[in-house]
């Protein structure tokens, strides 16, 4: 079948699913959500799923991945299992309440909304849309761009559930909140959860997100998170992606930062068949700081593609991007980072780096850091490297009695550590260090039967 045919087919398939299930979709969703849904559907009908002709998806053909018969989760499916047996958070610094999404649905159906100290709210997006319409309406579908991005349009057309977090003005949530995206089923499934994080002025929170597969069938995920970070607010986002090789995911993070806000976003890709991470940042006021970091460790036939769009729309903001990756076997990857400095964004400081180590001749990465600068008084830099492990360093280590395999690990670990060091929560940093170490040692490969308490 030609690519064009696949493209039309997979698009057509979603159009049909939408039309066939329009009642289920619109059911128990407030009117304002359904208006956005309808608009998204019309957009999707035009745009469809991006293929390789789309400059931003040159190295990851989503059409191929979406041409499948996976089941969609249009209502919550009840799978009985004791989450506490699987995830018992033993890092004392982390909130003990684990927030769980199962195949895109808020798991704790008895307590869809939880109030945290100071009036903060965490819970099901679907429930929040019903209970707090003013709040949700103000932010939902405001930052994620469905006009340009067919996948966001698709997600919005099918929007049902996901995570909702609200932190009111000047409220600080001290302990990180752990969110687990769990995929588990007897058959192949396609999930599209939708998250909304709202941090009002002067508030602060951190979340730790873990993506997991708990059963063997293939999974596909197309998730969208919109994150509003108000004036002088601070948000830490750490994510660990650890899914099996039969899983594919496209993830979209949209950060909207108001003046003097600070965001750290750190994505650690430990495992996954195909992973495409889109991070969009709009620095929408003076004095913002954004640190967007990523680490990917891939092997076998895995594919990782990181895309970052950093939009400096106002003066005096700082952004740092650091993406590092180790690719083994015949793994492939891409990095595409764009920094846009608009005309008025004077005194911008923007830095971007992508460094890669290829462990074999068959591993491959395409890296394209880009700067687009329209202001004249700025400090920007970008750079990319693709290389092998340093032979001289290898020999130096071995000459002290460290076996080849161990020496390789030390060097890979050292390489990865720049990204891990940027994780703000010390206890989490230790845990991730440990996970990365295990991953590099090849001890994390069977994560579909995982009992590994990711944090």
């Amino acid at each position: 079948m030609s690519l064009e045919a696949v493209k039309i087919e997979s698009k057509q398939k979603f159009i049909e699913i939408y039309q066939d299930n329009i009642d289920t979709l619109k059911n128990d969703a407030p009117e304002y959500i359904n208006i956005a849904r309808q608009k998204a559907f019309e957009l999707f009908k035009n745009i469809g799923i991006p293929d390789k002709k789309n400059e931003n998806y040159k190295y990851t053909d989503l059409n191929k991945e979406f041409d499948n018969g996976y089941k969609m989760y249009l209502s919550p499916k009840n799978i009985k299992f004791q989450i506490n047996d699987i995830f018992r958070c033993d890092v004392p610094e982390i909130n003990t309440k684990v927030i769980l999404l199962l195949n895109g649905w808020y798991y704790d159906r008895e307590n869809l909304i939880t109030e945290l100290p100071g009036g903060a709210i965490i819970g099901s997006f679907q429930k929040a849309a019903e209970l707090y319409p003013d709040l949700v309406k103000k932010h939902f579908a405001q930052y994620a761009d469905m006009e340009k991005e067919g996948m966001v349009a698709l997600n919005t057309a099918f929007v049902k559930d996901g995570i909702f977090l609200y932190v009111p003005k000047d409220v600080l949530i001290e302990k990180p909140i752990q969110i687990i995206n769990l995929l588990m089923d007897e058959e192949e499934g396609f999930t599209q959860h939708r998250n909304l994080f709202i941090l009002e002025e002067g508030s602060q929170a951190s979340v730790v997100v873990c993506d997991h597969t708990l059963s063997t069938p293939n999974f596909l995920t197309n998730s969208v998170s919109e994150i509003f970070v108000g004036q002088n607010a601070g948000f830490d986002y750490s994510r660990m992606q650890n899914e099996h090789n039969g899983s594919k995911q496209v993830s979209h993070l949209y950060f909207h930062q108001e003046r003097d806000s600070r965001v750290n976003a750190n994505t650690i890709t430990l495992h996954g068949g195909l992973v495409r991470n889109n991070v969009h940042v709009l620095l929408n006021g003076e004095g913002c700081e954004n640190n967007t970091y990523g680490l990917y460790l891939t092997d076998k036939g895995q594919h990782i593609d990181n895309y970052v769009f950093m939009d400096h729309a106002f003066p005096n903001c700082i952004s740092n991007q650091l993406f590092k990756g180790v690719l083994d076997d015949f793994a492939t990857g891409a990095f595409n980072g764009k920094v846009l400095v608009r005309k008025d964004a004077q005194k911008t400081k923007a830095f971007q780096a992508n460094n890669n180590i290829l462990l074999t001749d068959d591993a491959d990465i395409n890296t394209k850091p880009q700067l687009e600068i329209y202001a004249d008084d700025v400090k920007c830099s970008h750079g990319a490297t693709v290389g092998q492990l340093d032979e001289d360093a290898m020999f130096y280590l071995r000459a002290r009695g460290i076996p080849k395999k161990e020496a390789k690990l030390l060097l890979m670990y050292a390489f990865a550590n720049d990204v891990i060091k940027a994780i703000q929560v010390p206890a989490l940093q230790d845990r991730i260090q440990d996970l990365v170490d295990k991953r590099l040692r090849g001890e994390l490969s069977r994560c579909n039967s995982c009992q590994m308490h990711c944090c």
Partner: protein, 250 residues
């Protein structure tokens, strides 16, 4: 301890060692001198197991075993230590982690349990003092941003930590100021026993005032062209290498 017979080695098809013969016994100190590019570092690298050099002929036995059959890490664990002429910087690998891994891997090789954390820290402290290594250096990444002299001192520190049987010190004296030279030489002398041996590669007779060699060898164009006692070093200091080269050409 070490017996080198007619050793020939090349890199990228170019022969660099052209038939080296050398015997080192326990308790001895051998100095190797010779002009730039004569193959001194190559000999050291071949003994340590650097794979870019191909051994084309000859034998090296170490305590009766075929050294050339062993991987670099095996050689190290069997007691061979190479002090690098140009120590490598390894950003992101801390000195502590590096040394702990090296010590434990060598212990594992000997069938010993890993060293306890407190014993390890004690050992580090002791050896740092021995070579007067700035304590702050041990908290940094391996050789990263170390000055030339600090790197050399760090080599001796590692040697002290690993207690090798055969140390090959490749120009550990170059780049050292006179105080540092004395400290490094003291370190070497304090570690000297009747069971171990040292090969020092140097350009300067000066070092040999501190580390007194039993033998001095002159390497030229991949061959040892003269061997003698420590007085040979004085002669070289005075006359250079040309008289020997002419000698060997005849």
């Amino acid at each position: 301890m070490l017996l080198i017979k007619n050793l020939r080695a090349s890199v990228e098809g170019k022969e660099i060692l052209k038939g080296i013969n050398l015997e080192v016994k326990a308790g001895e100190v051998h100095a190797i001198m010779g002009p730039n590019g004569s193959g001194k570092s190559t000999l050291a690298s071949v003994l340590a197991g650097r794979e870019i050099f191909q051994v084309t002929e000859g034998k090296v036995s170490y305590f009766g075993k075929d050294l050339l059959e062993m991987s670099p890490e095996e050689r190290a664990s069997e007691g061979i230590f190479l002090g690098f002429q140009y120590p490598i910087e390894i950003p992101g690998v801390s000195m502590v982690n590096f040394m702990k891994t090296a010590v434990n891997e060598q212990r594992k090789h000997k069938g010993l349990d890993p060293i306890s954390s407190s014993d390890f820290l004690k050992l580090m402290r002791e050896k740092k003092e021995l070579v007067e290594l700035d304590a702050a250096l041990a908290n940094r990444s391996v050789n990263e941003g170390f000055s030339g002299g600090e790197k050399k001192r760090n080599e001796i520190f590692q040697m002290a930590m690993l207690e090798p049987k055969l140390s090959i010190l490749d120009e550990t004296d170059s780049g050292l100021d006179i105080d540092a030279l004395r400290i490094v030489a003291n370190g070497v002398n304090k570690l000297k026993t009747a069971e171990n041996a040292t090969i020092v590669i140097t350009h300067y007779q000066r070092l040999l005032d501190y580390i007194i060699p039993d033998y001095v060898h002159v390497l030229n164009n991949g061959k040892i062209i003269k061997s003698g006692g420590k007085e040979l070093a004085f002669e070289l200091e005075e006359k250079g290498y040309d008289w020997l080269k002419n000698d060997s050409d005849k």
